[in-house]
């Protein structure tokens, strides 16, 4: 990250397109997100409508992915559930970044005692096992989408803060910063004009990896019984509900399982590709 100023956008685009995984998984992720956003337009049925005479129908006409044990259309549930899962993952990582990024940058620029104390606090928060923390917060407050988002944000914010601080420290030592400081730029100006633009790329990469992890945490706390509550659904909850039918009606569990796998796979690999683009030297 020491090459500063950064590469031009056109170079980056070229590099991105050169990676094989980048465009592929970027496209996939776009598809997933678009499907979730357009759920009301795409879904053939109301996701909570029970067709009681069509329970556990296999994929076919009328129900492209089949129905679950209460006769609800799985495709519609998958689309609407995707909204919940994606919302939980993206919003919580977004909130965590909004909180963690400034804290990390300030801590990194501040140095000295302030930095030491902020880092102590961050390390303290980081020492709590993440799923356990998210599960406890979510269950104790009472499960709802907002609470799940809050819980995952609390888990992620310190992670992001630590990452941002590390990046800030690197940027702080560059000759360019020295020059700006010598020219009398204020701390605020330094942070906004110089640090922020330079750590945006790695922070984006970190955040995209975080989205995959957040989706997994959402699934885990749903599995433990403290996530989104029925009749709403998320992919995690759908997997949990579907597992009982693994031998008799496997499609109920396979569709949400595949969806979550594709989501995490695409954000992870996209993150990797982006890292390669921004920092070509690391690539092996």
């Amino acid at each position: 990250m020491t090459d500063y100023p950064s590469d031009r956008p056109s170079t980056l685009r070229r590099r991105f397109l050169r990676t094989r995984t980048g465009p592929l998984f970027g496209g996939l992720l776009t598809l997933i997100v678009a499907a979730a956003i357009l759920a009301p337009q795409l879904a053939p049925h109301d996701p909570v409508r029970q067709y009681l005479d069509r329970t556990l129908a296999p994929p076919g006409a009328g129900f492209p992915l089949g129905t679950d044990d209460l006769g609800r259309d799985l495709l519609s549930r998958l689309l609407y559930g995707g909204r919940v899962t994606l919302l939980a993952a993206f919003v919580s990582v977004g909130v965590a970044t909004l909180v963690g990024l400034p804290v990390g940058m300030v801590s990194g620029m501040l140095g000295g005692q302030g930095d030491v104390w902020i880092m102590h606090a961050i390390n303290a928060l980081l020492s709590f096992p993440s799923v356990l923390l998210a599960f406890a917060i979510s269950a104790l407050i009472g499960p709802s989408l907002a609470v799940v988002v809050l819980a995952i944000s609390i888990v992620f914010a310190p992670r992001m803060a630590r990452f941002a601080r590390g990046q800030t420290l690197v940027v702080r030592e560059t000759p360019f910063m020295e020059a700006a400081r010598a020219a009398g730029a204020s701390q605020g100006r330094l942070i906004f004009r110089h640090v922020l633009p330079n750590i945006t790329a790695p922070v984006l990469v970190e955040a995209s990896l975080g989205v995959g992890y957040a989706a997994l945490i959402e699934a885990s706390i749903s599995f433990l019984g403290a996530g989104i509550q029925p009749p709403r659904s998320s992919w995690g909850l759908m997997i949990k509900e579907g597992f009982g039918y693994m031998d008799s009606a496997p499609w109920v569990a396979i569709a949400p399982g595949a969806a979550i796998l594709l989501l995490t796979l695409s954000v992870n690999l996209l993150g990797d590709a982006m890292r390669d683009v921004f920092d070509p030297k690391v690539r092996l």
Binding site: A124, S127, F223
Partner: protein
Amino acid sequence: MVLVTLAAFMLVTLLPGDAVSALLAAAEGADPRIEESLRLQFGLDRPFAVRYAQWLARLAVGDLGRSLLSRQPVLDTILARLPVTIILTAGAILLSLVIGIPLGLLAGVRPNSPADRLLSGLAALGVATPSFWLGILLVFVFAQSLGWLPSFGYRSLPEGGLSEMLRHMLLPWLTLSAARIVEVVRQVRSGTAEIMTQDFIRTARAKGLPDRLVLWRHALKNVLVPVITVTGLAVGHLLSGAVVVEVIFLLPGMGTLVVEGVLQRDFPITQGVVLAGATATIAASLVADVLYGLLDPRVRYD
């Protein structure tokens, strides 16, 4: 560490639905007199800082309070559940190293070989798979369909002997270690690949030393050190995973304890386990630091 205790305390005290109303729920009605006396007993009339100080003081002498449900000391309960979680986590760490290091070497020695590509693909899948998904899948295959291994339960050494214990632990270990194996493979692979390009390895190879020997003598040492360090740092992740795995396999460890505690609003238990988890995470990173120092003579603590 002080901040850890503060956070653990806040987790439980600042959330709605405090201990007294949970206790009262089980009691006949809500007699204001009883409610008041309970609030006094729990000291809820005093300010936060005072309560925190008192809680800390008790903590210092090993008093984590008593479970609201069983009324037994939290510390005793945690200690009774600890061995299972330790066996689960330690086994998973061992497994991840034993499986991950050779695979990582295999992939790293010849980057971009078919084996390497296969492993990278598997690794990407491994990271993207929720652990409970994997766990239930393993149960489905090995316990239900093939009938080789039990799907749940725990046998301690005195109960069933070593083989019974291992039979019951194998699937939990595999489930918990899967994500770690992927991490270890990635790390060893990139470490090995980097080292293979370096001059002293090229020299060694040029001198005609067989690949295997080169690997053992030079590469492994340089790769192992960061792996062990990172493993120490991953204990927090493993403990998170252990919660889920214990629930899947009904293991009587701290994971099932805390899930039960949270769902039943047993605040002292929740507080205690969360604190224990954080402490273990910190302790593990300290151990990792020390190991790092031992393995890498360049690091000295003075």
